[in-house]
Symmetry: D2
């Protein structure tokens, strides 16, 4: 089962469809079951003390599970998140990107399930973990 969109195709699609946020994210690597993305951390993502805000971490996990799903089903803007569970475990480092490592656990006809580990770049211990379910639009 090859991927239907590679990192470049995903980046182009994101710029087309979500231009408000496309500049926040980078796509490092994609395979059939794994995706590595990053939040290009900027002042607008920060909270007092230099830490990245919870909603910015959520946004990274959400876009990552979406892109992992699109990599397999092709460009469908209408896939929607139905559920996310997220644990915030450590304070992100100031001044570095956040890296999200996403695994595709299930790709069904109607639902995809991914889990995501989020790291401050260069650190071994995860900042957050999330699991997300996407509803895939019927053909």
């Amino acid at each position: 089962m090859p991927i239907m969109m590679d990192a470049e195709a995903l980046a182009v699609f994101m710029k087309d469809v979500f231009k408000q946020v496309a500049d926040d994210f980078g796509i490092d690597h994609v395979s059939e079951t794994d995706l590595t993305t990053r939040l290009l951390v900027d002042n607008r993502h920060l909270r007092p003390g230099g830490t990245v805000s919870g909603p910015s971490i959520f946004a990274l996990a959400d876009v990552s599970a979406y892109l992992m799903t699109l990599a397999r089903i092709g460009p469908k803007a209408l896939a929607v998140t139905t559920n996310c569970s997220i644990d915030f475990m450590r304070k992100p480092e100031a001044g570095v990107d956040l890296i999200a490592k996403t695994r595709l656990l299930k790709l069904g006809k109607l639902l995809s399930v991914c889990d995501v580990l989020v790291y401050s770049e260069g650190k071994e211990q995860p900042v957050a973990r999330a699991s997300l379910t996407y509803a895939i639009p019927p053909k």
Copy 2:
């Protein structure tokens, strides 16, 4: 058990500590166990088709559970979200605020637990539900 911060005190605190996002949110009502807040929906919260983005809905749920907790424990900037589970159930209406109705289910020494129902203003069916756990800083 009276509240330690009313709606006005919460709004002042939010402007002090989270000035980047304080203008996004309004506080309609607070009691010992319930809080009503709103996302003052603006272009920056929208996705194609005029719908409010998932991260904006998450941010509303997150700030609501935080403010509900602070209403009871007083102004502690350091309370942190440890877990959130969120279900996205319906597409938000375009052009109206989102209203969050938060209930405090538990206020322990170390953890608070809230649930939140999010509505498009004027609608009966919820757009999303979330449950959140906050870690309360030790005295």
Copy 3:
């Protein structure tokens, strides 16, 4: 939208299809959007200290969301839980039933979403909260 199964029909269905566990549960009340059920607490549900086990509380939440969904869609044994998020907030009382109050938040074509508050009978503060998603089998 009337219900398709009342409390008696749900109880009969449960005995037919899940006879291993049907005796664990009682159905107090059902309406279009709300269901009250109980775990008939017995020795086999207990952990040391007389408290009800986590898996027994999970089982009560799970069966409650299932029965709430069936009350609306009719007897479909094949509806399956796809996701559950549960917070354990207080230790259940020894020697009393657990009461589950379930709300149907969404009934779509493919998915239903419920939330459940679980109480020790006679107590005001919830023992646990859960939210569950069921996948509804296509017609």
Copy 4:
């Protein structure tokens, strides 16, 4: 950071403290950050069609995260689950054990966080995933 209880010590502790359920579970392997356990599937765990019940899968995830935490903090019966999010993704195979692969993502002073992937023995695709938070009793 060595482990404080190995597989044998965990099994003995479980038999002492949770004798009602200790026979349901086996401990295959434990390290500082990983634990492999199994549900010794028996008739009492099954649902119609031979599939393992949701509460049995939940129980396996719950005991696994508990044992992973105890392996590091030593025998503390009072550690309690505060939150679990679980996704049921595939129907378990009939007639084989369920294998749970647990990773310790965080071990703090107050909370531990684990994630768990559950497989039918011999299969590559997971049946379920879960993430769990345990509250660690203060010293």
